[in-house]
Symmetry: C2
Subunit: 404 residues, 2 copies
């Protein structure tokens, strides 16, 4: 539940109304099915006010009445549910090797989930943007065909994304200063819904905070385990943006000044020690040539060997897990989150990485009663795409309801 900072703007009735509409909407989302009386009792709003708000939301097709139920004493309640059907939020995820599209309804139900291969490294940015826009357009058309209205489209990119939607730097895509939002916006014909671009880790952590195992945690960090390592940070219930929009760049934090060289030209980066590519290289010394060609196959092979007790693979996993634990300890000491969620290719490897990381974390955590937990994501590879769609819902939740 991300709340945006409101600046020096004064408040008026519209704000009160929008706030309370959002309060009711969020309550119903979390307590389906429920009655108007339930809402009034739980939120403290007056029954009459709730009736008015609910009528408004039904009018906007955000809520729907179901048949009466609740066989209790007294008048039966008219139960309300989220009416997701007329709306959709779309999220796209760009990766070095694939594109993902996800669409969800207001209730967070996935109504579309596509994945297609994509050659991010060798495609020119212009081509890539065209391919991304094309996928987005297909997804949008699909949900429109179902009779839904699109509330927004958000694209996750593995790199530094400025607030205006310009991708400043995406090493794994070979991009620099690409105005992706503008390109996609134009390819979609300047649509009425907002198109935005954000870092993939930022979107993934939003997905985790809504739909993950620790949904609702106010302090949550997500570590991407794709070609690089990035962090999405939710602190005190809000996604961190930083001064220029580039927080969470943990991949090139130095873990060991005596560590190995990193692809970025520096030495001892977390990515060089605990990155999936580095891990694969250590765990599969015999197939070092193919490493870059297909990370997924390599990770599967590492899993196979680790299960088979292969010492080289197990040692590599332990080593990477320890380095990862050291990186996580930095996050924990600086940010004190409740959970650190591992995503991407870290997920299949989590069984070996997490014990080593937790061991390291125990020795390096400052805070008492070691609270921070490390878990693997259960959302799968589309986490950032789903999070992209979820950011659109966050807008709605924050009171930015669709007009009638």
């Amino acid at each position: 539940m991300i709340t945006l900072p409101r600046g020096p703007q004064p408040a008026d009735f519209a704000d009160v109304r929008a706030t309370n509409l959002a309060v009711v909407l969020r309550y119903v989302r979390g307590h389906v099915p429920c009655s108007r009386a339930d809402i009034a009792a739980a939120t403290g709003l007056n029954k009459a006010t709730v009736s008015s708000l609910v009528a408004d939301l039904i009018d906007r097709h955000l809520l729907r009445e179901t048949g009466l139920t609740e066989n209790r004493i007294g008048r039966p309640a008219t139960m309300l549910v989220l009416d997701g059907s007329p709306y959709a939020a779309v999220g796209l995820e760009v990766n070095a090797d694939y594109l993902t599209a996800v669409a969800i309804d207001l209730g967070g139900e996935e109504i579309l989930s596509w994945r297609r291969s994509f050659d991010g490294l060798n495609a020119a940015p212009a081509q890539a943007a065209t391919a991304i826009a094309a996928l987005g357009k297909r997804a949008v058309n699909r949900v429109i065909k179902e009779g839904r209205r699109v509330l927004g489209l958000t694209i996750g990119v593995p790199g530094l994304v400025a607030a205006d939607g310009v991708v400043r730097l995406a090493p794994n895509l070979g991009w620099q200063d690409i105005d992706l939002r503008d390109r996609v916006n134009r390819a979609l014909g300047e649509p009425s819904y907002p198109v935005s671009v954000d870092n993939d880790a930022n979107l993934a952590v939003i997905a985790e905070s809504r739909y993950g195992e620790h949904a609702g945690a106010a302090n949550l960090v997500y570590l991407t385990g794709e070609v690089g390592i990035g962090a999405g940070i939710i602190s005190d219930g809000r996604l961190l943006h930083g001064a220029r929009g580039f927080p969470g760049e943990i991949g090139h934090v130095q873990i060991d000044p005596a560590g190995p060289a990193c692809g970025c030209g520096r030495v001892g980066c977390l990515e060089a020690l605990a990155g999936v590519s580095a891990l694969v290289r250590k765990a599969l010394p015999d197939s070092a040539e193919e490493v870059i060609t297909d990370l997924e196959l390599d990770v599967n092979e590492v899993v196979r060997r680790a299960k088979g007790g292969d010492k080289v693979a197990l040692d590599a996993l332990a080593e990477s897990g320890t380095a990862l634990g050291r990186g996580i300890s930095t996050i924990v000491n600086l940010l004190d989150p409740e959970v650190v969620v591992l995503g991407g290719y870290f997920v299949p490897l989590a069984g070996w990485l997490i014990p080593a990381a937790e061991e390291e974390l125990r020795t390096r955590g400052v805070a008492p009663e070691d609270g921070t937990r490390v878990t693997a994501s259960v959302l799968g590879h589309g986490a950032a795409a789903k999070g992209g769609a979820a950011t659109v819902l966050d807008q709605v939740d924050a009171g930015n309801l669709p007009k009638r």
Copy 2:
């Protein structure tokens, strides 16, 4: 600076009123002297509304009318100024070797600034709490004698402080699980104003964000340079609290696995490499015995020798600066702040530390157009105390105005 409550709580008229009162108050603070018409034009509020709000604020003695001025065409404006005089906010700072008390009025003017020595390490927590409460009481009585109403008292402690005011761990004071807020509250006779306790770095960064050289920066990190190193983090305009209230513990982040042993029992901590104690030990190898006895004298001696071109001292400063730069690079990559402010004993040493730190930072920063700046605090040793008082004003600014 939240305006309407965006949480699960619904909004009503009182929230609108409180929000707009705070909007007017903040505007006047930043634009003294100004007229009602100015406020209306700048905020977008209606002239009538502004008049009503201003009348309310004058009634609460938060604003005051001055004589007419502004010799322009048209009716002369009645100029308004902040009326700080009837109120005061008090901040205390606990350190291993001294206590500080600061009181400020609504405009942020210091109306009291005391410093007294204090033997934090050898005093039992009960005695220490008594001494702290006594100093607080004297400060409170002093401002009350001036005819002011105390709006709140906030105490900064170098350690882990839970949200309920319990000091979980303060190694440099030898404290563990001390309910300082309760003790001080009782020593003050359960006063009507709120007493709170927070980490000293958190309070210092609040002071920096209000009164420092980079006041107003939305992304700001403060590093304490006392016996330990702690970080206070303001991100997107808000102080980070973390899941348990223990963020910013950067002192024991590992910078180098092959580094020296730290007092905490671990190896290669930032504090062991770049802490003031470690620095003094390296820079003054001949006087290693006295190190703990008086850090301030030792730091002065380091400054004297560095100015004199002493190679040992200069090497130690360069080494510590580099390590500090590495720690700062971690912060920069994770949080992307606009400024990192060095405080405490880092300030007199900043001339030597910052160049080395910036050099390191340039090589380790990921983001392009290296934006993060490193500066020394200009607030002096009372930063945390002043920040403690400022947190009280933040409450007022957020709409929590004193009752009549």
